[in-house]
Every structure is written in C-alpha cells, then in structure tokens.
C-alpha cells in the first residue's frame, strides 16, 4: 500500500533507491546531498536494504566503484552535488560510453569559487556532454518518482545508459514535502531485474573500455549518439507505464497554460513552481502568458520544444546557471539553437538568475516576464539579462 508521508526530499530520494532495491551504493557525502547517502548507509546498516554500501574516499572513486559494480551486473545508485559532480567528471563519460546504467541523484549545487553550497544548475550544465540521460524535477514527489523511473529507463536492455536525476540543492533536498511513497510491491512490479547482457564474469571474459585508435573512435561515438537519441522512446514508454501504475504522468516538456499563449516562460527545476503562481496571477489580469517546464534535458527534446513554442511571439528562457563569457544561459542557448531554422519561431530572450541559492521571488518573475516581453519588442541590447544582481 503506497503511503503518504511528510518527508525531507533527500530522505525520500534515499527511500526511493531503497524501494528500487539497489544492490550497490558507492558514495561520498557533500552538501546538499549528504542526507541521501547517509540515509542509504543507515538503511543498509539497519538491514532495511540488502545492498553493498561502499564509503569511498572521493566522488571520483564513487563513480569508479559504481561503474565497476554496474559492469558486474549490480543495480547501482549514488548521489552527489556541485564540486562532487565535478570531481567525478572524467568518469562520467566512461559510464555512459561503456553503457553502464548507474543511477545518480544530483542535488544541484553552485560551483566554486566562491564556495557555495547552495542551489543552482551550474553543476548540471558542466556535465551536459557526458552522455547521461538527464531529468530535472520540480518537487519531492517528482524526485522520488523519477529515481524509480531512472532505474527502469537506464537498465532497459535497449538503452543501458546511466541516468542523472537533478533536484535543486536545498530548495528541494532540504525541504519537507508531502510525498506519496510507493509500496515496495508496486516498485517490484514496475522494475524488472537488472541484467547486463555481457557482465564482467570470469566464465565469459569480456573487455570493457578498450582503447580505440582514430580509425574506429568516431564510429563508437556515433553508436553512442544513436543510442542516446533512441532512448527517448523508452523514456516516454517508461513514463507512460509509471503513469498507469502510479497515477502520475511525466513528459519531456510540461505545459502550464502554454497552449495559445503569446508570451511563454521556460524554466527548469524547482523555481518552475514559483513561476506557476505568477503565470496564474498575470493570466487572471488578462495577460496571454504561459509556461513550459523542461523535464527531459538529455536527450534534448527538440520536437517537443519546437512544437510547443511555434505559436508564441515571445519565449523567455530562465536559466539557473551562467555560461561565463558565452551565451549566458545554457538552456536558452540550446533552445535558441533548436529554433534557429524554424519558419515560425518566437523572439527568444535569455534571463539568468537564482545563482548560488538566490531565491527568485514572484515579483521578480513578474519583472522577468515584463522586461522579457519589452526586450523582445524593442530588440535585445545584450546576450542575456541577469535578474536580481546589484551591479
């Protein structure tokens, strides 16, 4: 029987990995995800989760141990954030190129320097190209649901890719939210047993991660690209089946009054929910505004985005990360690029805000919509706008 609880989201994420019956957790603590891995350690120590818990010496080791475990056929889970995600950076590429379905929760945290433990998306943006399937969630329920879905997606024999579930550090990881925790039997029915087709086994030796001379490296990358793109079909199917089994349906791009809206705001992560209240307020005043919430970051949902914005005049994209010296908002630059060749496309305006845990208030969201619409009309003077900065 599923139970409704008031639970800190980090703890709920750990519970979700427990419900999924993870076999191996190799992890290193880092604010703001520490509660996830601490709770998993407790679950294992108390006998609530039958798993091998490996407290490693760093995140680089955590990901290395995870990929080894996954290669041996273990259902593998870990969590990290910010500098931790960066420390394991080089190993991330290995997990995806070797097709090892490690599942990882990332409590998105700002990158040093200056040192910030607080939430923004810069850690996620730094790993865009690592070849992982990446999903952003907005609240605790979505975090729990998508950790469970992540196992189903990543371990699918037609996919076999690692999956990151991004949840905002502190804004989600440290808040207590009402969450419906599925029952263990429901999750068991939803998740097939993980089988690697050719795991590390002395009886049937294989080589994983062999070196590739120039003559073949490109072919392996094309195979990887084809596989990641193709995984979208499995992601949609998994979300549909999750919807049928648990009553909550997820999509690559969620729409909030976006249909027919003249001005659209695109957001990712927990501040989407603050923005929704502002959309309600402005619509009540008669403004033609709507919102798109990006959930599937990789593989990038080109079709859904192009389709969703085709009728709008203005698309304001709010990023929670800054690509310094470049296009400003990483998500905006990708959206803009996706729309460049479209016959009908809105004017795209880039806003960056909420860095290093800075909240964006409903009033500031109103300013974003107002200023964004004005910039679209008058023409932009700068590559992007930054919100809430005292210059």
């Amino acid at each position: 029987m599923a139970k409704r609880v008031g639970m800190e989201v980090s703890i709920a994420v750990a519970e979700a990995a427990g419900l999924a019956n993870a076999d191996v957790v190799a992890a290193y603590p880092i604010t703001p995800q520490t509660h996830i891995v601490e709770h998993l350690a407790e679950m294992v120590a108390d006998g609530h989760l039958d798993a091998q818990y490996i407290p490693v010496e760093s995140e680089h080791s955590a990901m290395s141990a995870c990929l080894g475990a996954s290669a041996a056929g273990a259902r593998t889970f870990t969590a990290t954030a910010g500098q931790g995600l960066e420390l394991m950076h080089e190993v991330l590429y290995v997990a995806s190129s070797m097709q090892l379905p490690v599942i990882m929760a990332v409590a998105n945290r700002a990158l040093s320097a200056p040192l910030s433990v607080w939430g923004d998306h810069s850690d996620a943006m730094a790993v865009r190209d690592t070849g992982w399937i990446q999903i952003f969630v907005e609240n605790g329920q979505e975090a729990v649901d998508n950790v469970i879905c992540a196992f189903r997606i990543g371990e699918d024999p037609g996919v076999l890719l690692p999956v990151m579930v991004h949840l905002d550090g502190f804004h989600l990881s440290h808040v207590i939210e009402p969450i419906e925790l599925p029952a263990r039997e429901q999750v068991d029915r939803f998740l097939p047993v993980y089988h690697h087709p050719m795991p590390l086994d002395p009886a049937r030796p294989v080589t994983m991660g062999a070196f590739a001379p120039p003559a073949i490296y490109s072919e392996t990358k094309w195979a990887q690209e084809t596989n990641l793109r193709k995984s979208k079909g499995t992601i949609l199917k998994a979300w549909d089946e999750f919807g049928k089994a648990f009553g909550r349906q997820y999509h690559p791009l969620e729409s909030y009054h976006a249909e027919g809206a003249r001005v659209l705001l695109l957001t990712m992560g927990s501040f989407s929910e603050t923005a929704m209240t502002v959309i309600d307020k402005l619509r009540a005043k008669g403004q033609s505004v709507g919102q798109l919430k990006l959930r599937l970051w990789r593989p990038f949902p080109f079709d859904e985005i192009r389709q969703a914005v085709s009728g709008a005049e203005v698309l304001i994209v709010l990023d929670r990360a800054l690509s310094v010296g470049g296009p400003g908002g990483p998500v905006c630059s990708e959206v803009r690029s996706a729309l460049f060749d479209q016959a009908h496309r809105p004017k795209v305006v880039s806003f960056v805000g909420g860095l290093g845990g800075r909240d964006i208030s409903p009033e500031e969201f109103e300013q974003i919509l107002g200023r964004g619409t004005e910039i679209a009309r008058s023409g932009r003077q700068r590559e992007f706008e930054i919100i809430g900065v005292r210059e």
């Binding site: 097709q99 050719m198 030796p205 294989v206 003559a215 072919e219």
Partner: protein, 100 residues
C-alpha cells in the same frame, strides 16, 4: 566469419558500449609499426644474463627457441624504446634506425 579491419568497422558493429567479446584481442594489435629504431642483438657479445628479458616493458623479449640461454626480440610488438640496449651490460644490443 572474416574479421573486419579497423577501417571497415561501422557504428552498427559496436554493441553495448563497444564491448570486446574476444578475449586477449590485444595480441592482434601490431605495435611494431610504431618504432623508429630497431633493437639488434649480437649473440657473440651476449652473456645470457637475461636482463633484457627482465627489463623489456612489453614482454617482447623471450627465450630464443633455437638457442638455449639466448633471447629473441619479437619485432611484431617491439616499439623500439631502447631499454634493453640501455640495460645490457655487455653492449650486445644496439639500436639501429629503421630507415637503414
């Protein structure tokens, strides 16, 4: 089934993260083409000490099948690093430019 050469392999040939299912396939990789210098052994100077065999970082120097106590260099793999020539106490090994 004829094995495809590197230049014939397509993206579709790489399954499951380019996993290699043939054990010890590294043996087929000819690293001998990498060298610019070749090690030449002079058996007349060789004292059969075995240091070249011990020091070769690639295990390319093996007991000679035709003459007990002597060693042969496997030119299929030898990369011409020159460690054997450097370590030989009898100057029995010399490095010669491949071009010659």
């Amino acid at each position: 089934m004829t094995k495809k050469s590197d230049n014939e392999l397509t993206a579709g040939d790489f399954k499951v993260g380019a996993i290699v299912t043939e054990p010890a396939s590294a043996r087929q990789y000819q690293t001998g083409t990498w060298r610019s210098e070749r090690a030449i052994m002079n058996r007349e100077k060789c004292t059969k000490c075995g240091l070249c065999y011990i020091f070769c970082p690639e295990g390319c120097i093996q007991p000679a099948p035709d003459a007990e106590g002597y060693f042969d260099i496997d030119l299929f793999y030898c990369k011409g690093c020159g460690i054997c020539a450097h370590e030989c106490p009898s100057d029995a090994i010399t490095m010669v430019e491949e071009a010659e």
